[in-house]
Amino acid sequence: MLATAVLGAPTPIPSPTIEYGQLAPMLLVFGAAIVGVLVEAFTPKYLRKSIQMPITVLSLIGAFALTVWEGFQGVRNAAAMGAVAVDGPSLFIWGAILLLAVVSVLLINDDDQFVAQAAAVPGSAEEDQAISQGGAHTEIYPLVLFAVGGMMLFPASNDLLIMFVALEVMSLPLYLLCGLARRRRLLSQEAAMKYFLLGAFSSAFFLYGTALLYGFAGTVDLGGIEKALGTVGGQDSLLYMGAGMLGVGLLFKIGAAPFQAWKPDVYQGAPTPITALMASGTLIAAFGALLRVFWVALGNLDAQWTPVLWAVAILTMVVGAILAITQTDIKRMLAYSSIAHTGFLLTAVVATGKEAQNAGALAGILFYLVAYGFATVGAFAVVTMIRDAGGEAGHLSRWAGLGKRSPVLAGIFALFLLAFAGIPLTSGFFGKYAVFAAAVAGGAVQLVIVGVVTSAMAAFFYVRVIVLMFFSDPAPEGPTIAVPSMGTAAVVTVSAAATVVLGVFPQPVLDLAHTAAQSLFVR
């Protein structure tokens, strides 16, 4: 009865149409993930890795190819009944995520990063046995694929429900992956738990925000909400609360202050390849989603949220830069640096204005994300190679004099650091320039000034690492430099190359970003 009461006159529900072609990249990734699960179920242990690895890489590359193809098609459409937006930004972000995912997978593929037997208690007999049997959890591959799929859906989702689902699809595998480090398992598990609890907590906020916005607009479709802003009146409290809580969930994912607390712990505890994936992929995806929500759904509300995001941006930059200065663990330091960079990116997010202005800002953000993503992956890849007895030599003091022992590796790492610091002739500089330029054009000069002051502070701790590596004498029994596997070597080379090329000849990528951003988000 209730149903009829709600529905009023029974009208036939139209059967949904789904543009499989446009969603192909995502579907491919998800499909591959499911295949991966089946492989886990039906193939003998010793075969799995040799099957999983190709599946993962190939599916990602295939998805990338499809994305590129769609890009050439110039697809711009809210697919699947307007649930998934396949437009310029989405495609660009997909491409970026897929590339970075491939690179990260090469890292993940590296041996003895992951626990042999997650269920086994650290230091217990069965763990030793598991290690002696060799091999690791091959479930990692499908998990990664699921996460990547989530990352692709998250920024593309055109209504809040899909966005929520995507958020979880992206996060849940990552929660698990965080806990699977082979060494320092206590830290790893702790990181997993913290990430999980806080993630769930924040997504609850996201969801409640969604609920309130739904209550306000009567729909969770981003475009619908935008329309509602004009029409609906007198419901402002619902709107503000909803938008605020939604913001909490998104800002948590990008790790903006005051929601950044999880980042250092998780980045430090998680297995480094996973950290790399999160630091690059998740960030990009989350920013995509953030932009979509704030520019599309709340586009006409910018008068309200701009000041709020101003405050958040400033806080994020300052917290990130200042706290990083006294860090002693390299991964933790990079985590704080990523917080600072989140702040820099936010300066462009608030710089909305005319269409062209927005397009410029968006393009800047997209370029920044790519540049930063590659540098980060590269940096973490180097981190995986600096080992000592207990696994990676995380503590900065162990890095002293690295430049003397292996100049090349140290040099490359220095390159990434300089890119983070935004020194010209590295990708980081143009990224920073792009977002700051957008911010200035958007009239956020003061914000940019805070930005440069904080990046001067930030430069200090990047430089500090260089000082350690090159100017101070090697520690007596310093860490060993692991002979890089093909994969790691490839990752480092690719990232370094990307950093330099984007730093000297950024035009092609910029063009791509501009074309992608031109038409902004599909409504």
Partner: protein
């Protein structure tokens, strides 16, 4: 013929080649570096010979679009000012290479010798680029990128406090640079011309307030670089810790980018703001002149002393730049060049002394003249050039700066005059303590300059004396460029109170 690109390309290629030299073979690396730097010098001289002072302002111009979406071009060209500064750089590099022949071998240098020399070449390319750039963005790129090689040269090959000094140097400059970045972005946005080409941006910014803000953005960066009081404290540390050769390039050339930038960008792009801030800048300069000199007198470490003298000299340069008279402008530009030679000679000779005695503290020396007359003599000449004694090129520039400043700002000019006396005190007192009196025990065995070192010092001394008596060649190149700068600033011309006709007229006529 793309002269400037070649000038930049050769050292870069050279750097790669040097870096590729097998580790063991340091000697080859050095010889290669020297050869490359000499080739660059030769090329520069050829280019300079084709430069036409009376011709158009920008010569050997090349413009290629680099990053269209930011309106950035790879645009290089030289006018008289840029030309002489590039010449300064390419003259100093081979000398520095020769002078630092063994610096990198020293125990405190922990890293490969070839890297040091490769860095020098990279730096050379960037120094040429920064002076040649006519695209503001390109200029900024070089302006910031230059820091890195210098940072490594100080940090890896410097003295005991090297990493502190290196970091201080980098962060200080970076901070200034980032403020400039904001101004650069704002300039682009406000101008709205969609290009960074400096000539097209002259006179575009009209609004006074905007001009002032942008001016400050650029100026602070340059003031840190120059360095102008009170942004100077990084220099003594950096210069004192850097190996002598690096110190020469740092103080001799890199810092000139600051004063060059003031002349080229602050004045031309924001003339009204420049005029508005002139009193402030002149004041800071005068403070710098006197303050730097006084602090120099009180130094116990000769490299720090030299660094502080440079702070005093940079005061003169900025004063000359902002006096905005033809004489002062030419003088300031000439000063940049001469100061490079003079301070270069001082630093290198100080380096030789330190290599011999193993201490940079003045009190560890005494009576060196007796055991090493040539070393002491050349040191004295370099010192005299630092106190701008007539007959040495530094006098010409200081005279022009002062006379030019005096035409418009009498009082600052008079105060700045006191720098003459203070200079005499810090140089001659240092000379007295180090070179004269009874020979100190530790110095007794000190050898005099060897052939290599003579080849290092001779050209500098020759240049100082030669241009001291015949500055015309330089001035003829500089003057037109300065005139053009001042016209774009629309600085009023100077007219004497009782114009006395030039031709000799007796009474009654």
């Amino acid at each position: 013929m793309p002269w400037l690109s070649i000038l930049m390309g050769v050292p870069v290629v050279g750097a790669l080649a040097v870096a590729a030299v097998p580790k063991g073979n340091a000697k080859l690396a050095k010889q290669l570096t020297l050869a490359v730097s000499l080739v660059v010098l030769a090329l520069t001289l050829v280019m300079a010979s084709q430069f036409d002072p009376s011709g158009p302002r920008d010569q050997f111009s090349e413009v290629h679009s680099w990053i269209p979406s930011f309106g950035v071009h790879y645009a290089v060209a030289v006018d008289g000012i840029a030309l002489v500064l590039i010449a300064l750089a390419v003259v100093l590099v081979p000398i520095v290479v020769l002078a630092s022949w063994h610096d990198a071998d020293q125990p405190e240098a922990k890293r490969s010798v070839k890297t040091y020399f490769a860095l020098i070449l990279v730096l050379e390319a960037m120094m040429i680029g920064v002076f040649a750039a006519t695209d503001i963005f390109l200029f900024y790129v070089f302006f910031e990128a230059m820091l890195i090689p210098m940072y490594f040269m100080i940090g890896s090959y410097g003295g005991a406090q090297r990493s502190y000094a290196a970091v201080k140097f980098l962060l200080y400059s970076l901070f200034g640079g980032l403020l400039m970045l904001v101004a650069v972005i704002a300039l682009y946005t406000v101008a709205g011309k969609g290009t960074f080409l400096q000539p097209e941006l002259i006179g575009v910014i009209k609004d006074p307030a905007t001009q002032k803000w942008l001016f400050l953005g650029f100026f602070i960066a340059f003031a840190v670089k120059a360095p102008l009081w009170p942004f100077h404290t990084w220099l003594p540390d950096a210069a004192a810790q850097a190996p002598a050769g690096a110190a020469v390039l740092l103080v001799g050339v890199l810092d000139k980018v600051g004063t060059y930038g003031m002349l080229r960008f602050c004045l031309e792009l924001f003339p009204d703001a420049a005029k508005f801030f002139t009193p402030l800048v002149i004041t800071l300069s005068v403070i710098g002149i006197v303050y730097g000199a006084i602090v120099a007198i009180g130094q116990t470490d000769m490299k720090r002393l030299i660094a502080y003298t440079s702070i005093s000299h940079f005061g003169f340069i900025t004063m000359g730049v902002f006096a905005m008279t033809a004489n002062a402008g030419s003088g300031a530009t000439l000063y940049m060049v001469n100061h490079g030679f003079s301070t270069g000679a001082l630093f290198l000779l100080a380096g030789f002394l330190i290599n011999r005695r193993g201490s940079q503290y003045i009190e560890d020396y005494g009576g060196v003249r007796k055991v090493a007359p040539i070393l002491a003599g050349t040191f004295l000449i370099a010192g005299l050039s630092s106190l701008s004694l007539p007959g040495l090129s530094t006098f010409v520039s200081e005279f022009l700066v002062l006379i030019g400043t005096f035409q418009r700002y009498a009082v600052p000019g008079v105060i700045a005059l006191s720098g003459m006396v203070l200079a005499a005190v810090y140089i001659l007192w240092m000379y007295q303590r180090m070179m004269t009196g009874p020979t100190a025990e530790k110095v007794k065995a000190m050898p005099d300059l060897n052939l290599r070192e003579k080849f290092v010092v001779a050209p500098l001394i020759a240049l100082l004396i030669g241009f001291g008596f015949f500055p015309a060649p330089l001035l003829n190149v500089i003057n037109p460029a300065v005139e053009q700068t001042l016209t774009s600033v629309q600085a009023p011309q100077f007219t004497p109170a009782v114009p006395a006709t030039a031709e000799k007229k007796g009474p009654g006529q």
